[in-house]
C-alpha cells in the first residue's frame, strides 16, 4: 500500500523548539508564543507582511510549513497537485474567544476571519500557491493512523501528487505543530510513508 509514498520532510514545533527531519534546528527559550512565532518568521521567512495579521493558529501552521519546505521546494508540481490535510483538537477556539471579546464594542472583522480552523490551510495555500484538495478535521487527539490513511488514499486515487499533512493545535499558551510533506516521488529523507514512521518523527 505505502511503497509509492514517502515522507520527504517533517517539522515538529513544541516547547519553544523546532525539529526538522528529527533534528533540532531552532530554539528560543522563555519566549511567549507570539514572540516565539515572530522569531520563527524572522529566522525562516520575512518579507511577508500578512503574517502579522494572522491569528496564532495560522502563524504556527504557516511558520511550520515555511520550515517544512525549506529544502523541498514545490515548484515542480502544478498548483492543483498539492493538497493540505490538517487536524487539531481546539479548532479556532482561541480566536473565537478573542473575537467574542470585541463584540460588545465594535466587532473586529479581522478577527472574525480567523474564527474557522481551515483558515490556516487557506493561508498556507495562498503562500505556496497550493490549489489541491484540502481538509480540516477536529478530533480529540492526533490520530496518526487516520490522517495517514486519508492522505494515502488521496495519493493513491491520484487526487494529489503531494500533500502537506499533520497536526496544528493552539489554545491559549498551549500549542503543538507536527507537519509532514508526503510525496509519491522520493527525495529528501524519503522515509516510507507509514503511520509508524509518522509516529516516530512525532515523538
Amino acid at each position: 500500500m505505502s511503497e509509492n509514498a514517502y515522507i520527504t520532510s517533517a517539522c515538529v514545533i513544541r516547547n519553544n523548539m523546532v525539529t526538522r527531519n528529527g533534528e533540532k534546528v531552532f530554539e528560543e527559550k522563555n519566549a511567549a508564543l507570539p514572540e516565539f512565532l515572530r522569531a520563527l518568521y524572522d529566522r525562516y521567512s520575512g518579507q511577508y507582511p500578512k503574517f502579522h495579521k494572522m491569528d496564532l493558529l495560522s502563524k504556527l501552521g504557516w511558520a511550520a510549513v515555511e520550515i517544512l519546505l525549506q529544502e523541498t521546494p514545490m515548484d515542480m508540481y502544478a498548483p492543483e497537485d498539492t493538497g493540505v490535510v490538517l487536524a487539531n483538537t481546539s479548532s479556532s477556539l482561541d480566536t473565537d474567544e478573542r473575537y467574542y471579546e470585541t463584540v460588545s464594542e465594535i466587532a473586529s472583522p479581522a478577527l472574525f476571519v480567523y474564527t474557522l480552523p481551515n483558515i490556516v490551510i487557506g493561508e498556507i495555500s495562498i503562500r505556496h500557491k497550493f490549489k489541491g484538495e484540502n481538509a480540516f478535521f477536529v478530533d480529540d487527539r492526533f490520530d496518526i493512523g487516520f490522517i495517514a490513511g486519508y492522505v494515502r488514499q488521496l495519493l493513491e486515487t491520484g487526487a494529489v501528487k503531494a500533500c502537506v499533512c499533520g497536526w496544528v493545535e493552539q489554545y491559549h499558551t498551549g500549542y503543538e505543530a507536527a507537519l509532514y510533506l508526503v510525496e509519491k516521488n522520493a527525495r529528501g529523507m524519503a522515509l516510507p510513508f507509514t503511520a509508524e514512521q509518522v509516529e516516530k518523527l512525532y515523538r
Binding site: 498548483p79 492543483e80 493540505v84 481546539s90 479548532s91 477556539l93 473565537d96 473575537y99 467574542y100 463584540v103 466587532a107 473586529s108 472583522p109 472574525f112 476571519v113 480567523y114 474564527t115 474557522l116 480552523p117 481551515n118 483558515i119 490556516v120 490551510i121 487557506g122 493561508e123 495555500s125 495562498i126 500557491k129 497550493f130 490549489k131 489541491g132 484538495e133 484540502n134 481538509a135 480540516f136 478535521f137 477536529v138 478530533d139 480529540d140 488514499q153 493513491e156 486515487t157 487526487a159
Partner: protein, 397 residues
C-alpha cells in the same frame, strides 16, 4: 477501491420545512423561509431577516426524542439524520458497518452563548451542562450515539463547504471498502456569533437575499441540517437508490481568507475536477445547484467560473439559498439532498427574488419550480472561507 457509491435516501430540516416533503412544498409554493428573528435573541433582530427553523428547542427535542438541553445544532442534526436513515429503508443500522460523517462550524455555540450571559452576570449562576458540548466534534458524537453508529464517526469543519466535504469523505470510505453505509452531511444552528461576524464583514442583506441578481447586496443566514445515506453497490442492489454520486472534487482558491478570486479559480477547479471524475462533459449536466450566496463577490466569481466551464450553453441553474438562507456548514448537506432528490423526481428548483440580469455573466437563474424533467446528471457547488471549494456530481444511473 472500486465500485459505485449510491444515495439510498436523504433527510433535511431547514427554514422552509422540517422534513423533505415540507421543503418541496415550500419550493413549489415559492415560499422562502426568511423572516424576522423569533428564536435567536439579538440586537439585530429587526435589521436582518434570517431563515430560522420554525420551532423552539423544546419542540425540536420532543420530535427528535432527545433532551431539550442539547445544543440546537445537535437537535437539527438528529432530526435530519433520522429522516435520512428512515427514507433509505435499510432497517436496523446495527447490522451494517456504518459511519456518521457530519460537518458543522458552530458546534454547541448557541448553548455557550446562553451560558456566557448568565455566567458574566454571576460566575456561579451559569449551568455548566450548557458548555460541555461546545466543540464541533461533541455535537457529532452525541448524534452518532443516539443513532447507534459505532464504526466510524468524523467531524469536518471547513467553513461553508463542510457539508459537501462530508459527502466526499463518506464516499471515499465506502469506495475503500471500509464501511457499508455512511450518513453524511452537515448541521448548523443560528448563533449571535455568526450573525455578528457576517455583519462585521458587511455581507448581510437587510432584504431577502437575491442570488445571481444584479441588485444583490449580501446573504441571509439560515439554519438547518441535511444528510444523505451513502451505500455501496452491494447494499444498493437490495433497495431502490435515489441516484449515484459520480464525481466530486475539492480545490483551494489560494487567493484570500474570505474573498473568492475574481475569476473563481478554485470554483472552476472544483467543478472541473468533479466532472472529470464522473467522466462527463459539461454539456451533460442537466441542472446546477449553485453555491449562490447572494454576495457581490461569490456570485460574480462563481458565475465567471460557470461561464468558463459551460459557455456557450448553460443548463438550468439556481441557488436554493434564496429559500433556505445560507446554512453554512449544513448547506452542502442540505443542497446534496435537494440535488439527489431532484434527480429522482426530475425537479428543477427555482431561484427566488430574481429580477435583474447580472452584468458579469450571460446567463440567469431559473425562477419557477418545475418537475417531471428527465434529469440524468446534477451538479452541486459549495464554496467556503479559507478558499475551500467543493463540487459534487450526482447521476441517475
Amino acid at each position: 477501491m472500486s465500485g459505485n457509491v449510491w444515495i439510498a435516501g436523504g433527510g433535511v430540516i431547514s427554514g422552509i420545512g422540517q422534513n423533505l416533503g415540507q421543503c418541496m412544498a415550500a419550493f413549489e409554493a415559492m415560499q422562502p423561509g426568511m423572516e424576522k428573528m423569533r428564536h435567536l435573541q439579538s440586537v439585530h433582530a429587526g435589521t436582518f431577516p434570517v431563515a430560522e427553523v420554525k420551532a423552539d428547542n423544546e419542540e425540536l427535542a420532543r420530535k427528535a426524542g432527545m433532551p431539550a438541553h442539547w445544543s440546537r445544532t445537535a437537535l437539527l442534526s438528529m432530526l435530519a439524520a433520522k429522516e435520512a436513515w428512515q427514507s433509505a429503508g435499510l432497517g436496523d443500522i446495527s447490522q451494517y458497518r456504518a459511519g456518521f460523517v457530519s460537518a458543522n462550524t458552530v458546534g454547541g455555540m448557541d448553548k455557550t452563548e446562553d451560558f456566557m450571559k448568565s455566567f458574566l452576570d454571576n460566575a456561579a449562576s451559569g449551568r455548566l451542562r450548557h458548555v460541555v458540548h461546545h466543540e464541533c466534534g461533541a455535537v457529532t458524537e452525541l448524534v452518532a450515539d443516539a443513532l447507534g453508529i459505532r464504526h466510524h464517526v468524523s467531524t469536518i469543519s471547513t467553513a461553508c463547504s463542510s457539508g459537501a466535504n462530508a459527502l466526499m469523505y463518506g464516499a471515499r470510505m465506502i469506495r475503500a471498502g471500509m464501511l457499508d453505509v455512511v450518513i453524511a452531511g452537515g448541521t448548523d444552528s443560528l448563533t449571535r456569533f455568526t450573525l455578528n461576524g457576517f455583519n462585521t464583514l458587511m455581507i448581510l442583506d437587510q432584504q431577502p437575499c437575491r442570488p445571481f441578481d444584479d441588485t444583490r447586496t449580501g446573504l441571509n443566514l439560515g439554519e438547518g441540517a441535511g444528510y444523505v445515506v451513502l451505500v455501496s453497490d452491494e447494499i444498493a442492489r437490495k433497495i431502490k437508490p435515489w441516484c449515484r454520486i459520480s464525481g466530486f472534487a475539492n480545490a483551494n482558491d489560494a487567493y484570500h481568507q474570505t474573498a473568492s478570486s475574481p475569476e473563481g479559480i478554485g470554483n472552476f477547479k472544483a467543478m472541473e475536477g468533479a466532472l472529470k471524475m464522473s467522466g462527463l462533459a459539461a454539456s451533460e449536466i442537466d441542472y446546477i445547484n449553485l453555491h449562490g450566496t447572494g454576495t457581490q463577490n461569490n456570485d460574480s466569481s462563481e458565475g465567471r467560473a460557470v461561464e468558463r466551464l459551460f459557455a456557450p450553453s448553460y443548463p438550468p441553474l439556481s441557488s436554493t439559498k434564496s429559500f433556505t438562507g445560507h446554512t453554512l456548514g449544513a448547506s452542502g448537506g442540505i443542497e446534496a439532498v435537494f440535488s439527489a432528490w431532484a434527480l429522482r423526481e426530475g425537479i428543477i428548483y427555482p431561484n427566488a427574488n430574481f429580477t435583474t440580469q447580472m452584468k458579469e455573466v450571460p446567463f440567469s437563474p431559473v425562477t419557477h419550480f418545475s418537475k417531471g424533467h428527465a434529469l440524468r446528471h446534477v451538479m452541486s457547488n459549495s464554496f467556503g472561507f479559507g478558499g475551500n471549494c467543493s463540487s459534487l456530481v450526482f447521476s441517475k444511473e
